[in-house]
Amino acid sequence: MEFTLRVWRQAGPAAAGGFVDYPAPDISPDASFLEMLDVINERLSERGDEPIAFSHDCREGICGSCAMMIDGVAHGPVSGAATCQVHMRSFRTGDTLTIEPWRSVAFPVIKDLVTDRAALDRIIQAGGFITAPTGGARDANEILVPKDAADAAMDAASCIGCGACVAACPNGSASLFTAAKLTHLGLLPQGQPERSRRTISMVAQMDREHFGHCTMFGECQEACPKQISIDVIARMNRDYVRALATARPDRTAAAAG
């Protein structure tokens, strides 16, 4: 297959970036999108040019490292797939593919297509710990979890933190990410003791990172490689208002400060 790549190149965080066109002939239809970039980078290196920087790790859709906007769609045209799970057969030969990094004030570009997504880590950190005894393994099924709660919590926990929800959201909101993390623990018995405090501090951190708000466009759900439902956002909103209304003053003050 043959493509023309229109790639965002940016030498460093402070450097000005711009698009550069690269011809991409002789590409296997069975190459993944990242393998296609590997081929292009080999060709660039052989010519003595700087390869295109992009983040990647597991290449099987579970690490959340790969992240790029392909032709205006986060993770490209395949639903429920990270960039690494998109294959070149999903495109037509002769296509011009525009490749951009995630665009968000909270995700500064480090180089080319690589962004710093530590803001998502800080939201998780703000959640703190749950009260779980350590030591010897406990009996299985010692704490009973209703099947539907376990399933819904697992769906939310499948979030790999890639940031596609933020990238796809017209408001640059991290609501789907934050809500998925909150729902994951909020549905389980183990997550109950700190539920209110966790909800208040994670939402406060989300705002502090300058992510936008949720307008229910629904673009995040479509972009999510794990297809996490926007239902989790409704749940987060309900939990947040309830947490603030019932929180003890010191906790509210700690979260606001």
């Binding site: 665009r103 987060m236 939990d239 606001a256």
Partner: protein
């Protein structure tokens, strides 16, 4: 107070938009139903108008609640729009919406159209400032003579289209913002919002259409 962090948060601002939005939805539904009395003749709708004015303080309570709701709704919308703009200083060279509706993407401009319409509508049908032959208390006369001016009627129809779109997204999303929507395999389905949006937009639009067509004169 617990509502201060709520007000400062993006979720809290959305809650304000949802609550004030639902107050206004209640108003437009009642207003639309009241308007339909125009089809029952001048006596009926003029009597309805006289009844509303006879409530005295109650009318002003309702007006105050609506005014406060409009102001809070716009205040939160402006703040949130600023936050969203700041969240993506550098726009994508290419962006293709996948599942977002036209209604959701036109909430901001649609809202601006609705504000312009509301101001005009009050000057037109409530105070009569921009009305060609306003007669206080004669609602039937005012709407027939006012909407016979076809550019005005077209503006009314466009504004009702904008209102329908605004409600199609707003009624559905406010339930999700407030967290009262239950988890569902089809989160984008919105039967209630469709019924409310179509009923309100069509119900209002019937009046200018009827005047233009000469059904009510």
């Amino acid at each position: 107070m617990w509502w201060m962090p709520l007000y400062r948060s993006t979720i809290g601002k959305k809650v304000i938009m949802a609550v004030t939005g639902l107050i206004m939805v209640g108003f437009v539904v009642v207003h639309m139903l009241g308007n339909l009395q125009a089809f029952q003749g001048p006596e009926r709708i003029n009597a309805y108008s006289a009844f509303l004015h006879s409530t005295g303080e109650l009318l002003w309570v309702a007006r105050t609640v609506l005014l406060v709701a409009v102001i809070l709704h716009i205040d939160a919308a402006v703040q949130l729009t600023r936050i969203a703009r700041a969240a993506r200083p550098l726009q994508y060279a290419e962006r293709r919406p996948q599942v977002s509706t036209l209604a959701s993407r036109t909430m901001r401009w649609g809202g601006v159209v609705l504000v312009a319409f509301i101001v005009f509508h009050i000057l037109h049908m409530t105070t009569g400032t921009v009305h060609p032959s306003f007669a206080a208390g004669d609602v039937y006369h005012n709407l027939v003579t006012g909407l016979r001016v076809w550019p005005v009627a077209i503006f009314y129809l466009l504004a009702m289209a904008a209102l329908g779109l605004h409600l199609y997204h707003g009624v559905w999303s406010s339930a999700r913002t407030l967290g009262v929507a239950r988890p569902t395999p089809h989160p984008f389905h919105r039967p209630v919002a469709v019924v409310v949006a179509v009923a309100v937009a069509v119900g209002f639009a019937l009046i200018p259409v009827a005047v233009l067509a000469g059904w009510i004169r």
